[in-house]
């Protein structure tokens, strides 16, 4: 693939639009979460800044930017500074492989609605989710605080445990699509979304991404009742903001991947592709918030048992059964 001026211009435009979309979505997901949780708990939620609280994300941003940026005296300064970026940058990079809509033809160029269509898309995603673990690990270790250390150790073993079941639950999708490329996976679902063939893999993936996002009921790394704020206890100002925004970008990204792997991505009847994709991602985000409003936090041994003794063997058996079923077809 050679790059001419139009290609480079299109690439930069796509990256700019993507950046705008994910930052806006993340900011409004925070607001949506606060409003929806408030509604579920019979409270009001933030409704004073702008109509229905619509300007609250802006107010939060200004507040985080103007807050004092503390680095504890005992902290490891370099790692402490790098950790928030390590948490948020992989979350942003995941979006590079996500197709937002069907390919269009603009100026005689066939433009795919994704930043790049890697032939190893799924491996790229798995690599990024492994790098994202460093944000939690380094942040907690560098803080030199007991709560942060406990939170980060818990977070580390939770994230790597559930990465296993998440990775294994995508294997049947690869078997059905015969490709690691995202566009191929979406195209393979033209007739039927993969959730019809792989409901079990979908459930395993959904539980695993809940754990990967460190959301309730899997929020043990930051369990506020016992660990104050877990691995980001010592963080303040915009560094905390990066952790925070990374977490919400991660929710949107993993929701988008779940809809790509199992619900056919932007494919759907009647409505335009981008609307379908947006609807699916919003549905996943709402599901995450709903779960947070419904379930209590797991105990640590229950968490590890669910990951290691239930989801992982189930995903392995699912791979074998899928292989057997596909070879019969």
């Amino acid at each position: 693939m050679t790059w001419d001026a139009i290609d480079i211009g299109l690439m930069l435009a796509k990256i700019a639009v993507l950046f705008f979309i994910i930052l806006t979505l993340a900011a409004y997901l925070v607001l949506a979460e606060r409003r929806i949780l408030a509604w579920m708990q019979d409270r009001k939620g933030p409704n004073r800044v702008g109509p229905q609280g619509m300007l609250q994300p802006l107010a939060d941003l200004i507040k985080m930017l103007t807050k004092e940026d503390l680095i504890p005296a005992a902290a490891d300064r370099v790692l402490f500074a790098v950790a928030p970026a390590m948490a948020s940058i992989p979350a942003i990079l995941t979006f590079a492989i996500i197709p937002l809509a069907a390919p269009e033809t603009i100026f005689g160029h066939r433009v795919s609605m994704q930043v790049t269509d890697l032939d190893v898309g799924i491996l790229f995603f798995l690599a990024l989710s492994a790098i994202a673990v460093y944000g939690v690990a380094l942040g907690g270790w560098a803080s030199n605080s007991k709560y942060a250390l406990l939170g980060s150790i818990r977070g580390l073993s939770q994230l790597i445990s559930y990465e296993l079941s998440m990775g294994l639950s995508i294997v049947p999708v690869v078997m059905l699509a015969k490709s690691l490329r995202m566009s191929d996976i979406v195209n393979a679902q033209a007739e039927m979304p993969f959730i019809v063939y792989q409901p079990l893999a979908f459930v395993i993936f959904l539980v695993s991404i809940l754990a990967e996002c460190r959301r309730i009921p899997f929020d043990l790394p930051e369990a506020e009742g016992e660990l104050v704020a877990g691995f980001h206890t010592e963080y303040s100002g915009m560094r905390f903001g990066l952790f925070f925004v990374g977490e919400y970008i991660n929710i949107i990204g993993l929701g988008a991947l779940a809809s790509l792997f199992f619900l056919g991505g932007w494919r759907g009847p009647l409505l335009p592709p981008i609307v379908w994709f947006f609807v699916k991602v919003t549905a996943f985000s709402f599901f995450f918030i709903w779960v947070r409003g419904t379930l209590p936090r797991l105990r640590y041994d229950q968490l590890m048992h669910l990951g290691w003794k239930f989801l992982t063997p189930l995903a392995l058996v699912n791979i074998l059964v899928t292989g057997w079923w596909l070879s019969l077809r």
Partner: protein, 118 residues
């Protein structure tokens, strides 16, 4: 085919600039009134006791080692899954044997109690 990675490089640079820029901007306009007490690690308002560089449970190391073993084995499943149709029945039986061996190791780990949290 390396051209497909150029957008990723650009995105990495922009994402790093976003991370760096927001922190630098915040340190420029944010207030700075550090004090000795403020820079201590948070311990619910009490004087911090000892250091946080403590030893922690061996269980966590064990989980990390198990993860490496199982994750490497999971990586072998991907090339097989892509070429699944071309490899045919032979490939399926081979992978069945591989997963059964993996399961034997898994059962061993379970029976040894490496997955218990007491």
């Amino acid at each position: 085919m390396l051209g497909a990675y150029l957008p990723i490089l650009v995105l990495v640079v922009i994402a790093c600039l976003f991370g760096l820029g927001s922190v630098v901007f915040s340190s420029l306009i944010g207030q700075k009134k550090p004090s000795k007490v403020k820079l201590q690690p948070y311990e619910c308002g009490c004087e911090p006791v000892g250091t946080a560089r403590e030893r922690f449970s061996i269980k966590f190391y064990l989980i990390a080692m198990l993860f490496i073993l199982f994750d490497i084995e999971a990586v072998f499943l991907y090339p097989w899954a892509v070429l699944f149709k071309r490899l045919g029945t032979f490939g399926l039986i081979e992978m069945g044997v591989f997963i059964v061996i993996l399961f034997v190791g898994y059962v061993y780990v379970w029976k040894k109690g490496a997955l218990e949290w007491e």
